[in-house]
Symmetry: C2
Subunit: 337 residues, 2 copies
């Protein structure tokens, strides 16, 4: 590994000049600069980031902590964070908490030590996290904590769109298959339902409980969904919707003919399953990119950047899992659709 000393020797200058030629070219005479740069080039020198960070008090590295890398939602966010960070010349330590809050705190502690700041994608409330991270820059995705920045998709608007869509299809008794207890997004979506349902005359929202944000979570909701006698449901997310539909299908309930289902997130799953999901879309990669912008924006020694929105647009994508109420088969078959 070629060091700054070798470059300095080759260019016939001191190491300070080499450092300056790189960090602040204007402070070096043109001729010297050229000699330094060409020496750098021929030797193939790249500054040791660990060393420079050690001295400068920064690492040029940020951390990303997600609950589950294999979840399409989080991998979409991870893609956005790594892409934006790379564009900005910053590296990303990616870690996964495996949905374990205790591990999360521990990992966060380690991450903070070796990065300039952290993007934390943690759906559950994590009041311990703030203490762990101390005064370090922290950006939360889909969550809020005092003293930390926050960014999320406007799922309040998404809920509204979903409601209006179902309403237009004739549905009035609409269920909400909730997410995990403690989920910030779940609380938000419930609040949005409560806020927007009254805008639509005759609409009734039925709480269908809290469920894990997994296929099994959707599975386990099927009984409640049927018992509730709703004609449509909004699921916490696509995965829950998929699990629900799969179970309903096995129980002989057809989607969308007998029940309309709306998902959330528009992960690539939505377009692969049968029926394809009507779902609320929020751009995950953009979410990750903007979260990174937010983080880099508060890092010392970085150019000030334009204001970054803290709320990203959502829109409803209509596919095949929702249908007009009248398409529902009557109790006695054979009388035509």
């Amino acid at each position: 590994m070629v060091t700054i000393r070798e470059v300095a020797a080759a260019a016939g200058v001191s190491i300070a000049t080499v450092s300056r030629a790189l960090a602040d070219p204007d402070k070096v005479a043109a001729g010297t600069r050229d000699r330094v740069l060409s020496a750098i080039d021929t030797l193939g020198y790249t500054p040791n980031r660990a060393a420079s960070g050690l001295r400068a008090g920064r690492t040029n590295t940020i951390g990303l902590l997600v609950p589950d890398l294999t979840n399409p939602y989080f991998s979409g966010v991870a893609r956005g964070v790594t892409a934006q960070a790379t564009d900005e010349g910053v590296s990303v330590f990616v870690t996964e908490s495996r949905e374990d809050p205790a591990a999360e705190v521990e990992i966060l502690r380690g991450l903070v030590r070796q990065t300039d700041g952290v993007v934390l994608c943690s759906p559950r409330a994590v009041h311990d996290d703030r203490g762990v991270i101390g005064p370090r820059p922290l950006v939360l995705i889909n969550n809020e904590l005092p003293g930390a920045q926050s960014i999320s998709v406007d799922d309040r608007h998404g809920i509204r769109e979903a409601l209006r869509h179902l309403y237009a299809l004739g549905h009035r008794r609409i269920g909400y298959v909730g997410g995990p207890s403690g989920s910030w997004s779940d609380r938000r979506r419930r609040a949005a339902l409560a806020a927007h349902a009254p805008e639509l005359a005759g609409v009734q929202i039925v709480d269908l409980g809290e469920h894990e944000a997994t296929v099994q979570g959707g599975d386990s909701a099927a009984g409640e969904v049927i018992a509730a006698e709703v004609t449509a449901v909004i699921a916490f997310n696509d995965i829950v919707a998929v699990g629900l539909i799969r179970r309903l299908h096995r129980m002989g309930v057809r989607v969308p003919h007998e029940l309309s289902v709306v998902g959330f997130d528009n992960t690539f799953l939505a377009d692969l399953v049968t029926p394809a999901l009507t779902t609320v879309h929020g751009d995950l990669e953009t979410l990750g990119r903007r979260a990174t912008d937010l983080l880099l924006g508060v890092l010392p020694g970085r150019p000030v950047r334009a204001a970054v929105p803290h709320l990203l647009p959502a829109r409803l994508v209509v596919r095949d899992s929702t249908a007009p109420l009248r398409a529902r088969l009557p109790a006695g078959y054979g009388s035509g659709s």
Copy 2:
């Protein structure tokens, strides 16, 4: 940020003793050790990895480069790599090439400078990569390059199992919906087909072309599949299988009744789609973990580890996308099964 000095002060020892208590506990008296450890605990001290690496000439960081983070295959591998690295006290820079070979080389170059070694998950041949990375430790997943270590799932065995399964179901004319040209795994699977088909009397393998490893790739293969008049196909991977089945379904061809389809990789998709995929399973997380072991194993200054296998077991997981040949509807209906 609490440093080793504060710990030393709190424990009433020198910083060297703190360092030793952590790196080589036996070299410190039990009483002293306890005092140090409890000081570490109360202060919440974590060693600065960049600093320790600087001294030791390592970064304690490895790089991971995958083509696409949102692909369930690669996110499974990424999970394994990050998990194993974390267990071993090493951080991981995760990056994505977006399936762009030129970007891949560039990213690799940057990654090499700031890590002790790289795990490269690159399905296509990349002869440039070796030059870029120089003498640095490199582990390839599902690929081979001179001078680099390599690890993969035994898909040769997987192909054999798939063939035997289809054979037992009565299929004789079997298609292979290939992956992208240049894919190492694709070449391997073709070789395996050629090697194992002769073991099964009367089996005929039909080459159904090369396709992108995407849903669209599967989509585009549908025409060829039908024209080939095969009764079963093995697809390059689950995603291709899903795309193929979806398109066939729209064209009125029922899977598995009229055509059996076998996928590859057993990503979580396989169990979510309809029909659920029969597919070849290889444990992705383990693949990532063992790749990391391989890499750490050749890093200087690390404990020697047990031999790591370079080939991981594969097995067939039978679900609903394959069925006996006789279940196929006869050309003229109504004549019974």
